[in-house]
Symmetry: D3
């Protein structure tokens, strides 16, 4: 692809530890930038953790992910894909939250992604906590409900708690189903584990036809078989991919708010995304990286590596 404007800065020119850190060293193209109209995939940060009921810090995720992502090079080692030559990608900057007002922030997010969709830009989002995803979906699902491939240790299908009237990062997908943003029949949630208060999330899933794959099932059947089922479930229609970093085992990804032991290792964490190649992914996110709990920066580096895998899938779907 001839348009080198959208190529990342090479480590051959400027060492990877140098320079102002944009996502994957891509150009920063804000909504008012002259080249915004040419962007096909926009990397966007959502620095907000206002839905977090336990340990906070995901608001610092986008910056840490940007920093780590400067380690990414141009070509996928296993597939040979060079995504930045396949798709015009750019760092669109962050959506500004109001850290003390959740409803307002959700509105800002929804409005922003409504605008992106109108421009035909497919978003790859760096959270932020998982409630961010609800805002994204509100902006994205303008032509009917989307399918969902969801990696997580929690279903996030719980009823609102702490009194019942508020949304948290424990219920974005329940709300998204209720609001018609997701098609429950085209939803699959993979990696579910950890202790539970009760089974209400699973009851909701059963009632709506959402497929839950527990971690035990994932390990017993193996990733290839589970992901084949995932591909069947979402089919060829527009699908969103949501990746909560707590899907991964806490030994690999400690930097998150609600870690649950017994998840996949890094190779498995990467492989599930690769197995989505060929799906019609119209947007995706990597959420719940919480830098204050990521003392080595490794969780951010894994998150950035997963974003690159997602980007390759999305570039392949254009």
């Amino acid at each position: 692809m001839g348009d080198t404007f959208f190529h990342p800065v090479s480590g051959m020119e400027l060492p990877r530890f140098a320079g102002i850190p944009t996502f994957m060293r891509l150009p920063h193209v804000g909504l008012d930038h002259p080249r915004i109209g040419d962007v096909q995939i926009g990397l966007v940060g959502l620095p907000w953790d206002g839905g977090t009921s336990n340990r906070p810090g995901a608001r610092h995720g986008p910056r840490a992910l940007r920093d780590a992502s400067t380690m990414i090079r141009a070509q996928h080692a296993a597939t040979g894909m060079r995504p930045f030559e396949v798709a015009r990608c750019a760092d669109l900057g962050d959506v500004g939250p109001n850290p003390v007002d959740g409803p307002e922030t959700l509105d800002r997010i929804a409005g922003y992604f409504h605008g992106l969709t109108a421009r035909g830009i497919r978003p790859l989002v760096a959270g932020g906590d998982h409630l961010c995803t609800l805002g994204v979906l509100r902006g994205l699902a303008q032509e009917g409900p989307l399918g969902l491939v969801h990696f997580d240790s929690h279903t996030d299908l719980f009823a609102p708690y702490f009194g019942g009237k508020t949304l948290t990062h424990g219920n974005p997908f329940r709300a998204a189903v209720d609001e018609g943003l997701l098609d429950p029949k085209r939803m699959i949630q993979i990696g579910i584990r950890g202790t539970m208060y009760d089974s209400e999330d699973r009851d909701f899933a059963r009632a709506h036809g959402i497929r839950i794959v527990t971690i035990e099932e994932m390990f017993d059947r193996g990733i290839p078989e589970v992901m084949a089922e995932a591909r069947d479930i979402v089919g060829d229609l527009p699908t969103y991919m949501s990746y909560d970093i707590d899907f991964v085992d806490p030994s690999v990804a400690p930097g998150t708010g609600t870690p649950e032991w017994g998840g996949p290792d890094a190779y498995g964490a990467i492989r599930v995304v690769r197995e989505c190649a060929g799906l019609n992914i119209v947007g995706g996110d990597l959420v719940e990286v919480s830098p204050p709990f990521d003392q080595t920066g490794g969780t951010a580096w894994l998150g950035a590596s997963l974003m690159f895998e997602m980007l390759c899938v999305m570039a392949g779907a254009l």
Copy 2:
């Protein structure tokens, strides 16, 4: 004092690293405990950081402060005071927040402290962020506005921002003045420093007669002289003491959300509290300890040490 029920567990009996960590190894006396009526000073945790506009984590403060406080022994080294023999103290537990609903949490806090005041229990509070203080004051100032001795690097007198309608940890004292909970003429704020957006907080202070002592003035005049002025300003009437750990230099107390360089060392941090001996302190708080940024646990240990100093002042005021 004969009532050993209220004495902390001694390190001679059970090493200080052992046992379930209550504040200063005091008995846990919830509101429904049979001995609640005998408590004179209640140590209370406010695990809430919903007003935090920058780095979060103060919600984890009470637990870290409890843990560190088990290092506290029975007697003050410099004054010889044995506060647990002077006053009946207890750990009252935490006020439960709604982590995703600020207004509701402020109501819970205000209600709780209204109840304590009704029982005649003087609170020593472990935050939480500084917006907690507004909730405490709403519960405490039932018989007229209180005086305030306030240690901080920020005035927290700013107008609500992020759109203007919401409270943050940047404006509890402005709200408290506006609501008549504090008497601005009996307020002194000490240690103020750091870069500013503008001077609106200082304009508000000037307009209401609030005394601001910048860090430069504090170092130039010396702590004894500044604290003598503080004692003059608040006089003998009921006074609240609010201690934001970011008053202290970040080399000493890194575990906080908005550190500003150039504050006092630990000796100065302790000394300003000791100089309040004799004041009519009816309640106090130690806020903004953020354990995720306190990698050594030192900030919590300093916070617990300061709470002990405050407790000695409060015990002396009974």
Copy 3:
């Protein structure tokens, strides 16, 4: 089960990061508490590392495990068991050690567990180093030797060293066999690895009929087969479970004194306990978590998660 006194505080009422941290948010029921007679399973801390020949710090284990354990919810995700409804569980507090006198501390521990056994309370212990287990077994094995399921990277069957007259955390099981507290024919030790001074521990095992499963054998045969053998070996008679956190790979559980590379991942670490369902477990421990070497707190969180797995097994055995 109707007796809600023994139910943990729910995160729905009080967020999990709030409140005084007891084990799994259970009520604190000391030996002098009116409800002590109703307790079926008692969670007890042994904050002692006086047998540690290498890196210390396990004395801080119980507090870190309590703190982490407040993340545990009410229901097991894979089995659906709700242990706190099956068994009346409580946090009994810590047994106070004498940090500078090992023999005296062992006596205190033995006496304490003798008392628990007399009351019919089954203990789930949080260490402390592995020498704690000897004290527990001295109190527990009052009606004859117990069986043992033991997860560890070391056999802890060595002769006393450093001159020969003292016990360390390298020999509790040798002493327990010698003292008739354990039935060597009903003992299995799983996960053994790491460099050795010599083979004396294995000679002792062979001579007494203790079954050692090295890590190589465990990985070659697989966990299900090895655990089936374990169930055969211990049979239906009363059995103790001892889990040294250094069984787990150091990438997963770095916070321990003598880590050895090449152990199981978190999923395997959890699974070996689950496979004990149905055994007649009359007591268990999770030892050697050393918080000073657990910089992320992850080891404590894994330890607490394993204690929950053990609790479910023990509740099922009532």
Copy 4:
């Protein structure tokens, strides 16, 4: 000043933890940017530590300083100066080093700053190790030798060692004097301490008339008196300010390669810069922040705060 293009993004619009981190949230204006001609003070990163003879990592300094600098607001608390309204400031990006070729990198740096000088842009540099300063001076001192105000615990006046033919971060100022870039009679080095191999640096200073103020002298005479002498020494002529973060005590600034105990606290660290107000500072640097040794990020935050102080001095000198 009406030109809001050069104003930093306000935390009122976008929280300070959000957005792509440029120095102090200023616009990124590369050398090919249309507004480059309007820049008065350019903030530049030198991500290079190729002269480091001891602990490396300063190559990561510019990124950490950028990240921390987003905490800076618009106005100086003590003086009220609003530097971004006084001077048109911008983040010019980094000068790309060759991490494995020192001489080439020094040439690149010298060439870059030669170009800046030609454009009339005064640089405020974020290192990198102290050898970077030699490259900067080679570019800057085009119209004769400059004066120097130098804060450090080392004189950096040593002869080249490790065989004698190579430059290191231990001798930039010796080389600069030898090359006629600095006027030794207008040089003052403040804060010198730490063990020494020998006195050759002091012999060189004595021979050339360079003023060395040891830390003992600084504490004995006091900062105001020492800085008055500094102002006398450099006078009104063009002067460079070089600030090695190891000037500050390691308790305050641990994140550096060669810390020496017994330096000033943060208040002193800041104050020495403020006392330079009124000097004709034509360029400055803050070097030797080494993020791998800065576990809390505090050293970077102090470094960014000092850069703001330096910027205020430089803005005042325009």
Copy 5:
């Protein structure tokens, strides 16, 4: 073997945390020591990271590896080998680098290992970055090119970059092939992964007949099969083993400069070395441990454990 001079200090005599830390508690035998002539395997440190293009710190590797290695005991748990009785081993100390002059340092290293080879001492090297290996090979391959078993996530076969004239840790093996130090037909590189700038390294490998096993192939075929192929490739002729710690997954070995996600766990990391038993290994290295990024010290402990595995293979090859 009767010569106890070469036996490590036992932890039975002096606890493992005590004493001056030499590699594996072996005697320090410098080149001028009277027993140097008896040494069969020499453990040598190369504290140099001058070829590092990304995150530095490997210069601190040898010291951290020595410290961790004092945890090693006398006997291999799985094979029963007691290497210190099979071979006379010693810590030969470090080769002194010139931290600011790469070519000179490479010369020093080559000269040193030339001397060792002349003495008939087989080296086991602790790096340092991977460019150290080029220096070692220059000293070792005096009688013709060696075979290579190479564990890494990078091929290190790239052309010199940053202008093209300098060597970095990205190209030691390309240079070694070009210089005739390695026989490309007897080279195998295992574990290759991570994003790439382009495929030039793989083109070079293909052109020269170097076998590359990607991480995907390694996991798909399994370690035993891959290592059987490795044994076939290198055959019985003299072979060097080079182990870059970034071969291992970053969750296990975070303390390195260029981590790539998706590598083997610790058990696999160890197993690949064990599978080399029987090969004619005449020298080996463990490189790229970077202590500033190894916050728990775990990477150094794994590195030391791998060095013990390598030592057992080398002792078996004598």
Copy 6:
């Protein structure tokens, strides 16, 4: 002094991060080394923390202090003294403890220092916890009680606790007085602070004539005046210097077991030792550095720097 055998390795020859870490890069001269008879000042490690009643880890102190001490150069910056030319110094290695048997370890230590005294070697000791000092004094005070200059935040004059029969790091000086090893009239303890159980230590001091200088007195009078009094008290007779690192403020020295806030900064910490120049110091120790709590390594580096100051005083006293 011509005997270069006893000179440290220079950083000019071998960079300071390289080489096997002995104290200050001195030669390792064990008791059986041919040059032992020439040693005047012996640096000795006591890796034992068996008297620790609170947070352990000081057993790891000597190794961390050795590592940090390799940063020390040849000459004192302020006085110009070159101690390694004034006195023949060597690293004598560690005294091996029995980690699980306190009385035996104390005997080993006493025996070791008895031997050193017989050889006329003056010891500079790196602990270990403060109970080590009792063992040292038992070996040293063979010709009558010594004077003591003691820097600490605790008096360590408490009666044995935890049942009364055992020694801890809370009472070495009480035991030393009781055993006639120290002359209480020639003892001064400086920096005392922190909460207390009771005043029994001060009663003991008063009864025996031991001078206690609280931290308040030290700051009020100033270090020069206090140290002048110290010199008067100990006079010209043989005197021991004992430096507990918790004398220093925890912001400066967090890596210790029982930190107390409000101590001196690093400059003060160093200065008190310098003020001992001229005293007849026959031995000294630096104790209670606990590396597991010293995350940056800064406490060890300060400890090593203080040992260098002590060494200069001791060399001056020869």
